[in-house]
């Protein structure tokens, strides 16, 4: 499932306080549906318009459970 990053941020101070490694929160468009997800690790690829792939399945509580996002890198998928 591949979409396009609409906006993003790298969070240096999370709910639990300052972090050594920031995590990203991304809002992306997937065929007209907006999905918000979290990405950690290598984030150099992250920019508005970047292609993004979501991992995870719908949870059993009625809410989508998307806890990670990543891209194969700038240019890997046309954005």
């Amino acid at each position: 499932m591949t979409g396009t990053v609409l906006t993003f941020t790298r969070i240096h101070v999370g709910v639990e306080g300052p972090r050594e490694e920031p995590y990203a929160v991304i809002v992306a468009d997937f065929d007209g549906e907006r999905i918000c997800a979290r990405a950690e690790g290598e984030l150099a690829w992250l920019r508005i318009g970047a292609p993004v792939r979501l991992e995870g399945e719908a949870g059993g509580d009625g809410h989508r459970r998307l806890v990670s996002a990543r891209s194969d890198g700038p240019g890997a998928i046309p954005g």
Partner: protein, 399 residues
């Protein structure tokens, strides 16, 4: 110009601001939520020269009275502390717009003829907890079932999403964000009740540690304690009691919007603020060009840009340049946040909206610490959550 005309036709009763009080904002050790609310309200009642027997209703805006302040039923407790007897007292919660919601409901009660005199209080006790507890409490002003909340989106994170998109869409240099905090910290240096009264330089702002890209420390409002209160009355009551220099409430409008980041129509505008502004201007019988001074909800630097554009005070995409050229400083063509705004004055959630209206009332009376020249019409803009609620108030110096 015909102002304050009911958009549904016909005249209406009008409310006036006749008194105000405010504690210092900041880290206030050894005082409780109720101490703050009581102190501010007593000061407001004193400035309006009224006693408990004059009050017909109490409206109290607070967001986290129980979670952070440790106090349930805050309006009734405040009423008892003030000796208001069996006067109806209600607390209103609209996240960071709680204070303005309280004001709006008080104004509506007066306009409807239900009451003549109302006390409006706003207060929050936020320090004394870990930053993690406060951050999580604030983050719950999103839909906690939404993906963004589950993903760990904080409020700095939410406005960072807005900032990233704003910089992208309008081709704005991220360093220009610092112009907002530098300006508001300069304004706050004139406010002896502000949380921060020390200016910051552009270099200091740009060198500060990152919080949520592209926002740095000085782009973020602080965790503050504080209380603020207003006394408002019907114009007829004020005239009968020889109130000196009352301020007319031309309009106060509330609208709703998205309660999570992924449900926003646009990342560079809060639809609730746009709707509330349009209704407020129509209700006041004015346009944005008539506003002489504004207090807007600068919880984060980029939020001031978005507010200016949502209020149509500045064309879309031009708020950054307008700020950089100095137009929003006191002495500029449109002074914005002369109190220092949330970035400098502080942001005790429930008190914020009330304090904004106090600042505008003082500006229109000509008694502000950081006075705009000949301000006759002023506006306050207060937002809750991710724009789930917005309140816009228009005040005018009474003739």
């Amino acid at each position: 110009m015909s102002r304050g005309i009911d958009i549904n036709g016909g005249g209406r009763r009008r409310a006036q601001v006749i008194g105000h009080g405010q504690t210092s904002f900041g880290r206030l050790d050894g005082v409780s939520l109720m101490d703050l609310a009581t102190a501010a309200t007593r000061e407001a009642m004193g400035s309006a020269s009224i006693g408990p027997a004059d009050v017909d209703g109490l409206f109290f805006g607070t967001f986290a009275s129980l979670a952070l302040g440790g106090q349930g039923l805050p309006a009734a407790v405040l009423s008892e502390r003030l000796g208001l007897g069996d006067v109806p007292a209600v607390s209103l919660e609209g996240a960071c717009a709680s204070g303005s919601l309280a004001f709006r409901h008080a104004v509506r009660a007066i306009e409807a003829g239900e009451i003549e005199v109302a006390v409006v209080a706003g207060a929050e006790k936020m320090t004394g907890h870990t930053t993690a507890v406060v951050t999580d409490t604030l983050a719950r002003a999103n839909d906690t079932g939404a993906e963004s909340y589950r993903a760990g989106l904080t409020f700095p994170g939410f406005f960072a999403l807005v900032a990233q998109r704003y910089l992208h869409d309008y081709g704005v240099d991220r360093d220009l964000l610092a112009e907002v905090s530098v300006k508001n910290r300069a304004h706050g240096a004139h406010n002896d009740k502000a949380h921060f009264q020390k200016p910051v330089s552009r270099a200091e702002a740009l060198a500060a540690r990152p919080i949520a890209d592209p926002l740095r420390l000085f782009d973020c409002s602080p965790i503050s304690d504080g209380g603020a209160a207003l006394v408002i009355a019907s114009r007829e009551w004020a005239a009968a009691h020889d109130v000196v220099r009352p301020i007319d409430v031309l309009s106060v409008a509330q609208a709703g919007g998205a309660v999570s980041a992924e449900r926003m129509d646009s990342f560079v505008s809060l639809s609730a603020a746009v709707s509330a502004a349009q209704e407020a201007y129509a209700g006041a019988g004015i346009g944005p060009e008539d506003v002489d001074v504004a207090e807007v909800h600068d919880c984060f630097s980029v939020a001031e840009w978005v507010a200016l554009e949502d209020l149509a005070l500045v064309p879309r995409g031009e708020a950054a340049a307008t700020t950089a050229e100095g137009a929003t400083r006191v002495g500029g063509r449109l002074p914005v946040n002369p109190s220092g705004g949330l970035l400098s004055k502080g942001h005790p959630i429930g008190a914020t909206g009330v304090a904004q209206i106090i600042e505008i009332a003082k500006q229109l009376r000509g008694e502000a610490d950081n006075q705009a020249v000949d301000a006759r019409v002023g506006l306050a803009h207060n937002v809750g959550g991710t724009g789930g609620v917005a309140v816009v108030t228009v005040l005018e110096r009474a003739a």
